[in-house]
């Protein structure tokens, strides 16, 4: 983005009542164009929000950070440069570069890094932070030649590496990847010495644009995709199984098929991180079964669910997989080496992300791996990530059991041995409730989302309550699958959020949560902030059944209406805290 485009982006009008997004930009230099580019990129990332950027004072990053600890903001963007660790590492101060001063520069930089770290850790308790660590070159202050990394450079880079390592583990802090920044903003073109000397703004426009773009993306924190559907022949492995046979498919260096091995390794890694992996292949099912058992790919068959192996259209396979996963096409990536199959799937499922597996191009195959990591990357792994696949298999098995001729829904639920654990603890450090609120579409009271900062603010309100439900039965644990949040006003409850993961449908968990909520607060009525959305049909059906009429804005659930709830057969247990 050029600077003129950034300014023009910001001049585009928004409806007057557009919600605000307050972002604090903390840096030690004049924020100038970084602030403009950050505003513009945030505007693109949050097209319906009015962006408000606040900045601090020149030349005092540590002080700016300390002032931020009690400031009101949705997010904080921080750019630390070398001169913030010691002014002698910049070019606007003439404190001396004599060799005898260098140890003091290192000592001072270490102390400043500690001060910055402590501030950031405190800020992260209430606000999300997007952080960039020094991006500019060190000035030529060491006595060693520029092509040699002397002790000064090594010590300073060590300080920043330690700082990065420490802060990367703090929930709420996201650090700009130096590797990604190097790619989009080549280091030699970053420093604008004329601008730094004239105005105190050290970045070239291209660098300011690149850095602002990454900071804005980390503030938005796009939702990762949930599932990947892959082809087999010439994609998961090299070779057409039906032509070359099980013994001749390959994914290793010896057969010049390493890119397929790397792809399998990536898929196994994604699966272990909770991404759903399925196969859609035009193939002979018996041969595929044999291939997985005899050739033992890196991606183990038990990591794949489901396998759609037949000679029918890929789009039909994808439709069945989406039903089995119970997620939308917009959460899924489809990878195939056939442009024709990709086009056929895209035509039937326009929201799916399609990627060509470049079987004849190693460089493009490597870029595909990087692309997949971006599409599926997440901030941290949760317990739910570990159990998602088993939970889906269990749900599938449960559904199969449910529809068998010898079973009835009542008998199935009675025999499931369910346990519903409810927690009323308001824990801002637990990312799962916010994740559920921001990702759930089908059983969602109103589709309203929160940023990390607004969720933390919401939880801090004394009258706000939160119910987080976890469930397990004989088919396995589902983890935390429901959140109800609202305000208590005597015998009246006001429900602001109610979400239930689609994996947990058909178990009457929603009924169990509601019953216990009324009981817990001895409530007579719950006013619901209901909004019909294009995708919350399952919630609307539930309300219609309970209220005897389709829900509308401001609808309420009265205590006596709970009598219409069908029996719940699971054990309900309230846990005091986590």
């Amino acid at each position: 983005m050029k600077l003129v485009e950034a300014i023009e982006t910001l001049e585009q009008s928004l409806p007057p009542q557009s919600p605000l997004l307050h972002v604090q930009l903390a840096c030690g230099f004049t924020p100038l164009h970084l602030s403009t580019f950050l505003s513009a990129h945030l505007r693109l990332e949050f097209p319906d929000r009015k962006i408000v950027i606040r900045t601090g004072v020149f030349g005092n990053l540590a002080g700016n950070l300390e002032r931020l600890e009690n400031a009101d903001a949705d997010a904080v963007a921080v750019s630390v440069e070398w001169q913030d660790l010691d002014p002698r590492l910049g070019i606007r101060r003439l404190g001396g570069w004599a060799p005898k001063q260098l140890p003091d520069i290192v000592r001072n930089a270490r102390a400043q890094a500690d001060r910055v770290s402590e501030s950031l850790e405190r800020i992260a308790q209430s606000k999300m932070i997007a952080l960039a660590l020094p991006t500019l070159p060190l000035p030529p202050l060491a006595f060693t030649p520029g092509w040699q990394a002397g002790s000064l450079e090594s010590d300073l880079r060590g300080i920043v590496a330690e700082l990065s390592s420490r802060l990367a583990r703090v929930a709420g802090i996201r650090i700009v990847s130096a590797q990604r920044l190097d790619r989009i903003s080549p280091p030699p073109a970053r420093f604008d010495i004329q601008s730094e000397l004239r105005t105190g703004f050290p970045y070239s426009l291209n660098h300011a644009d690149a850095l602002a773009g990454l900071l804005a993306r980390m503030i938005r924190n796009p939702s990762p995709k949930k599932g990947l559907i892959t082809d087999l022949d010439d994609t998961l492995w090299m070779g057409i199984l039906g032509e070359v046979g099980v013994e001749n498919i390959a994914w290793d260096l010896d057969h010049h098929a390493q890119k397929h091995g790397l792809y399998q390794q990536m898929l196994a890694s994604l699966a272990a991180a909770g991404v759903l992996i399925a196969v859609a292949s035009k193939n002979d099912p018996a041969l595929v079964e044999e291939a997985f058992h005899k050739a033992t790919p890196i991606l183990d068959q038990h990591r794949i669910f489901p396998l759609e192996i037949h000679w029918g259209a890929k789009s039909e396979s994808v439709a069945r997989i989406l039903r089995a996963w119970n997620i939308g096409a917009d959460s899924v990536v489809f990878v195939d080496d056939s442009a024709l199959d990709l086009a056929e799937v895209k035509a039937a499922h326009p929201e799916i992300e399609c990627r060509l597996f470049p079987r004849d191009n190693d460089k493009a195959a490597y870029e595909l791996l990087e692309d997949l990591r971006d599409l599926f990357g997440k901030q941290a792994l949760s317990q739910e990530d570990e159990i998602r696949l088993e939970s889906l298999r269990a749900a599938h098995a449960a559904n199969e059991a449910d529809v068998s001729p010898r079973s009835s829904p009542e008998r199935f639920l009675k025999e499931a041995g369910g346990k519903l654990q409810l927690s009323f603890a308001k824990n801002p450090a637990d990312p799962r409730p916010l994740e559920l609120i921001n990702k759930t579409n089908q059983f969602n009271l109103n589709g309203k989302r929160h940023t990390e900062a607004s969720w933390k603010r919401y939880l801090s309100e004394p009258q706000v309550f939160v119910l987080v439900a976890s469930y397990e039965d004989k088919f396995g644990p589902l983890g935390k699958i429901a959140v109800l949040a609202g305000r208590r006003d005597g015998g009246m409850l006001r429900l602001d959020h109610w979400v239930l993961s689609c994996r947990a449908f058909s178990r009457r968990i929603e009924h169990g949560c509601l019953l216990r909520l009324f009981e817990k607060f001895d409530a007579q009525e719950a006013a619901c902030d209901f909004v019909a959305t294009p995708r919350n049909g399952p919630l609307q059906e539930f309300f219609t059944e309970l209220l005897g009429a389709a829900p509308g804005p401001g609808c309420s659930i009265r205590r006596k209406q709970l009598l219409k709830c069908p029996p719940v057969y699971f054990e309900i247990q309230e846990v005091a805290d986590e």
């Binding site: 600077l3 300014i7 023009e8 001049e11 100038l32 164009h33 004329q194």
Partner: protein, 80 residues
């Protein structure tokens, strides 16, 4: 309006969005209150980016009106 004038006008419009095209062609530091130090720095950056040039510090001090900047740009040697 020639190409340089059109591109320069876009830079000025970005910095002074309230000014009409006619007002922009007559704008100067002395007649425009909004032309402060931040506007000046932004304008210089926009011009450097738009025209792919590095303005020398000495030259910047003399670029105090739309007309003066346009004359400066028109006087630059053709870039191949």
């Amino acid at each position: 309006m020639n190409d340089a004038q059109r591109r320069l006008s876009r830079c000025f419009s970005a910095v002074f969005p309230g000014l009409s095209r006619e007002q922009i062609s007559a704008v100067s530091v002395e007649t425009t209150e909004a032309w402060d130090s931040v506007a000046s720095v932004t304008l210089i950056s926009l011009i450097q980016e738009e025209f792919g040039i590095d303005l020398e510090t000495d030259a910047i001090d003399h670029l105090v009106s739309f007309g003066a900047i346009l004359d400066y740009l028109n006087g630059l040697p053709e870039r191949s």
